[in-house]
Amino acid sequence: MNFTSLTFLIFLTIVFALYWLFPQRRAQNLLLLITSYVFYGWWDYRFCGLMFASSLIDYAAGLGIASATSPFRRRVWLSCSVAMNLGMLATFKYFNFFTESFAALAATLGWQVDPFTIQVILPVGISFYTFQTMSYTIDVYRGELKACRCLIDFCAFVSFFPQLVAGPLERASNLLPQFERERRFDEKLATDGLRLMLWGFFKKLVLADGLAPIVNARFNDIPASSGPQLLLATICFAFQIYCDFSAYSDIAIGTARQFGITLMRNFNHPYCAASLSDFWRRWHISLSTWLRDYVYFPLGGSRGTALQCTTAILLTFLISGFWHGAAWHFVAWGLLHGIATAATRGRTLRLPWLSSRWDWLSHAVAVGLTFSFVCLSWILFRAATLADARTILTKIAFKSFRSREWLDLPGDLGNQSRVTLVVLGLFILSEWFLRKYEHPIQLARLPLPVRWAAYTLLIWGTLELMPLTSNSDFIYFQF
């Protein structure tokens, strides 16, 4: 069940009505549990069994850790949980990647190895909920969280439908206590949640789906694409993935607020970042902080020597790359960010001689440089293979400066694409000038008729501008 479907809106309305009809916590949790499995099963009912198994094992692990009498037993329980979660990921997501990579490596060494591959469908959201439940068992092990003693509460926490499929990757310490206490309806929270959902629908349906044809036309036909076309497609992809992913998070957060549950913010205007470290504090915040707390800090973080710190950074970004996909170009993307983050750690991109005179210009240059690097790194993310990424980068680097090809660009675009680019321009301006707000339609201080007119315009504008494509899946569903 996709967020951007009428089916979901009807589903949400029914769940909302039933949820507040029975304001007792246990009844609400049971309702959320059942409806979350219905939501998840709508994709494929077979996935439900896997998620339930994962929930059951981690619930047992949490209780086991809490009741263990020795550190050894506690470690055993934790290891079981981590091994099971990573084992599931390894089986469903990485098995074929590793066997095929091993076979390719063996072939380069002259050995003929026939890779054994398995035909499995990647369960939707597996990367998210396995990491979420691992955070629970690790937090219980560390003593930062009490083990949950109610299976319904725990399963509802794991399967909570707004954030199940594509995040935010919630921490147990933030989300689980909300399931363990009574919830009250908060009108302000719910109203702002609706605004956030509206903004999310706009970003997904108009911008992300509207930019997709521009991106796909070039990335699916690299040999026939010119340097300027690929450069435009790269910039469009940067905004496509941002709008797509942040839209899902916005809708998820807004939906959760209807139930009195607060999810963590997942994006904070990442393209306004003035450095790479800043970018990673603003992009996919839930995953970045998870990796920081469970990988980077345990590896020593910034407390060790420069070499140790650099190693920790590289390993963290390597895992981030792997998390995103079982392919070498994702790994390369992660490593590239790791190297660049390690290299610029503790340094600023602002030019001192410029900062002293025009601080705003210096800041703008730093933002521009960061955005340019992130954009170019997205090529590794979007390209199907490393070879394709190399071709694109080469064309952009050496063939983007032919004025004739730039003049041809507008003609290559259809009417829908041109409209989308105009809307994108307005969106970029709103991102920059309204960056202190969570979203640009926080219009609570304006009179009611003005607010309603703005929302109405946004709704009908979205309906008018959204392209009529048949595939409207969110990009991060594939992870």
Binding site: W20, E187, Y455, W460, L463, E464, M466, L468
Partner: protein, 338 residues
Amino acid sequence: MKRYLLKLLAFVSLQCVLAVLLWQDAPQEPRSDHYLAALIDKHEALLHQPGPRLLIVGGSSAAFGLCSPIFQQKLQLTPVNLGIHGAAGLEFMLRHAERHARPGDVILLCPEPMLLAGDRMEPEPSLKTEILKVWPSGATYMPQRTTDFSVAKWKKYFDRLAVEEMQQRLRRGVFDAPKPQAPVRELPPPPSNRAFRYTRSGFNEFGDMIGHYTEKHKPFDMPRMVQLNEQRVEVAVSRINRFVENCQRKEARVFLAYAPLLEGTQPQTAELHSILGKRLQIPILHHPRECTFATEDFYDTPMHLGGEAAKKRSRFLADRLYEQLLVARVSGDSTIRR
């Protein structure tokens, strides 16, 4: 909570009112010269032409291969040629006609062989999209909405098609500035000094395609042999028989005429015609070999007769239809059997 729900209800009600206004106000007939937009004119004629009428139902062979004025002169009926494109599917054509059949109507069913063979009951998907783009109301006659309303189809329709229809109407309502007084057809004049193209303006007021009448024959490939599938033929036969019953209930009479046959291809369809002759409960005006034409009589495909051949065929069918109607009048029998 109460205040939140009331405000939400008020806001949603406002959007619903806007939606209804935009839905109602959006003009249903975009001013397009697209070939398929001729369906709008045919539909208008079907709704408003005074009776008694001769409704011609079929694909492009009916559009290209029949000359309505000849029928009008011979039969004293007002012709409405609904023929447009075989890939629209038999179901769509029959639904459109039977929904608006009136007492006293005579319906001449002349579908292409592939439709009679059951090879195209449903519309071809890309053609369906094109039809709905130019004539959204045509969705009413499309089969997918009401047959086999499985959960999967419901999900797909509800999730995308409903939104798509709303967007189509909204775009025309807001950006095409409806002019209620404007005539339905504000079209460029038919191309006189340019080569024939498939356009809405190539049709006459009866729905006959006449834009190609002055064009010369164009070489085309010979039609491929169609593999007959008895089950599919049975589906088509049942549907046609049901169409006949529905029309008879409305006191309209139905006759079948075969599509024009290219000389030498009669053996390919002999088996099909034999089955149809036995199973169809509908008067068939002629044997297929009585309506064969030479290659030069066709315009650009084995289904599209040129101008002179269309007139010749029309005279032949009008005579046969006249005989059948005369027999019916004399015998006082409104339900004719062959």
